[in-house]
């Protein structure tokens, strides 16, 4: 169980992200504890995705994107990591648009372990099966592991993306609206897996389904218009105890 005493996995201090002078988020302060499922809710354009990109330093590939403030992963500023790739390999990210890489389903999932130096076929087989099973995709693809990942259906690609993130064996798993392309039954299966995974990793769950945050998250933050309006224990946030009226309006569905 996550308690006040759990070590802090990720700490955000005065984070601001802008694109060519256009502010996407500013003044975000929060810390996420180890083995916590941290929910982030908020309407579109609230700056959720910019927030995530700042965590695993994707600004490195986008000269237009400026990041200020600090992101501390395991107590170290991510911008001071001398090997940024090692940092990213420990953070699994699933973005809302599913991307199946144009290689076989097997290679999609085996790629990250291979990059880490695992060569043994038997070992890779185990990882591939485990990750695909956890992403609720194994039954559908186990007989055609050599199909191109990029030719799967949207929902399957989404789950393949999740399997790929899991294959990194990440310390921190970030899911950004993963259920957009997935049917409700599969969504429930993946949610159950996330509850299990909690014992192994820290999870940030960005979602546009407020009830999903309520089902899964220990604590939830509400983002609106580029700022983090409120952070609270999830139950408190959803039982009319939110301190900010905008949060109450959002979780009760008055806008968004």
């Amino acid at each position: 169980m996550v308690t006040e005493a759990s070590p802090i996995k990720l700490e955000i201090k005065d984070l601001a992200v802008s694109y060519g002078g256009q502010t996407a988020i500013s003044g975000v302060n929060l810390s996420i504890r180890e083995h916590e499922i941290f929910g982030i809710i908020g309407p579109a354009n609230a700056g959720k995705t910019s927030f995530l990109k700042a965590i695993n330093r994707m600004d490195m590939f986008d000269t237009n994107m400026q990041v200020e403030g600090n992101v501390l992963f395991n107590g170290q500023d991510v911008r001071k990591w001398r090997n940024v790739y090692a940092l990213r390999s420990r953070i699994g990210v699933v973005f809302p648009l599913p991307v199946g890489l144009p290689m076989s389903v097997y290679d999609n999932v085996a790629l990250s372990p291979q990059l880490r130096g695992i060569k043994e076929k038997a070992e890779l087989d185990v990882i591939v099966e485990r990750c695909l099973t956890r992403a609720a995709l194994w039954d559908e693809v186990k007989d055609r592991l050599d199909t191109l990942g990029s030719l799967l259906s949207g929902g399957q690609q989404q789950r393949l993306t999740i399997a790929r993130a899991l294959s990194q064996e990440p310390e921190l798993l970030i899911l950004d609206e993963f259920s957009i392309a997935v049917d409700p039954v599969t969504t429930m299966r993946i949610e159950d897996v996330l509850k299990e995974l909690k014992s192994e990793m820290t999870i940030i769950l960005v979602t546009n389904l407020v009830q999903q945050a309520r089902r899964l998250a220990d604590r939830t933050a509400f983002f609106l218009d580029g700022e983090c309006v409120e952070i609270a224990e999830t139950e408190a946030l959803f039982t009319r105890q939110a301190s900010d009226s905008r949060t109450r309006d959002y979780v009760e569905g008055r806008f968004g």
Partner: protein, 310 residues
């Protein structure tokens, strides 16, 4: 299955470690960067080397007024060599000019047909044919001028010589047209479909759409295509060497033989001693050719990029 998480609070040892993959990545970055700057090194190198070979003469011996103003080109005369390139420039200009007169309407017409009218298989085949035409080597074009066009012109126009401005102009026009066609077609394709739809919605017919909407919108790209065609004609060597008749002459009509700047270098460089005045003056012509084509390409690029930005 987990990476050990007991070092999570306080300090994470891994943050300070670079592995082999990190260094490989850096090394590759350096290697490909060298590849990237090689293009700059080569173009600067070309300019430096032809300047190095031709500059001494340009400064010490050459009278620029004679160089550009005199029609007499007799560099191998031992007593009184003459270094005037006026006739050679006239030769290049007349051939390139005629080539453009031929190539501009035909290449633009073909480009408009491919981009705006042709459909399906016709369009595919036309594009393939144009691409294959562009691939024919210039020495083959020169050979065609020499063996097919030459007797044809003599017979058709009843003239004594067929290796003339007309011959080289037609050959050069046919050579430049495919490239101009494909660049012009790109420019036409770059015009957004909403322009066409808007005009069609107002009841304009297909050709009205093309003339009143598409052509004006694509005019910079088309201009770029023409300029690149000019550059290509200006710099062409083997075809003009073989089809112009190679006579130093300011042409009075298209039935006169001429000689081009490029062809002069190609024909004479082999006979000169390295470092001699004649050798150096050929390099001086090279500097001139380099600068002119550089300007043409730069202008064409600026014009074409202009449309992409807006």
């Amino acid at each position: 299955m987990l990476a050990p998480s007991n070092l999570s609070s306080g300090c994470d040892q891994a943050f300070d470690q670079r592995n082999l993959d990190w260094y490989i990545d850096k090394a590759v970055q350096v290697v490909v960067f060298m590849g990237g700057i090689s293009a700059i090194i080569f173009i600067v190198g070309i300019f430096l080397f032809i300047t190095k070979e031709g500059m001494g003469f340009l400064i010490d011996t050459l009278d620029l007024q004679e160089f550009f103003g005199s029609p007499y080109w007799e560099p191998s005369d031992e007593d009184a060599p003459e270094y005037g390139i006026l006739a050679l420039m006239a030769g290049t200009a007349s051939v390139t000019g005629l080539a453009m007169l031929i190539a501009i309407p035909f290449s633009l017409g073909t480009a408009i047909y491919i981009a705006e009218f042709a459909t399906g298989k016709t369009r595919e085949w036309l594009k393939i044919l144009v691409e294959l035409l562009a691939a024919i080597p210039s020495v083959v074009w020169g050979f065609i001028g020499l063996t097919i066009m030459n007797p044809l012109i003599i017979e058709l126009f009843d003239v004594p010589v067929g290796l003339t401005v007309l011959n080289a102009g037609i050959i050069l026009g046919l050579m430049a047209a495919p490239i101009m066609t494909s660049i012009a077609e790109d420019a036409l394709k770059a015009v957004p479909d909403r322009y066409r739809e808007a005009a069609e919605a107002m009841g304009a017919t297909r050709w009205q759409v093309v003339f009143k909407t598409v052509l004006p919108a694509a005019k910079n790209g088309l201009l770029g295509a023409i300029l690149l065609g000019v550059g290509r004609g200006f710099g062409e060597t083997m075809a003009v060497l073989m089809a112009t008749g190679h006579a130093v002459n300011i042409p009075g009509s298209v039935f006169d033989s001429v000689r081009a700047l490029t062809a002069t270098i190609a024909a004479e460089l082999g006979e000169t001693a390295v470092g001699s005045d004649h050798y150096q003056v050929l390099f001086t012509i090279g500097i001139f050719l380099f600068l002119i084509t550089f300007l043409i390409n730069l202008t064409a690029d600026l014009i074409v990029r202009g449309i992409r930005k807006s």
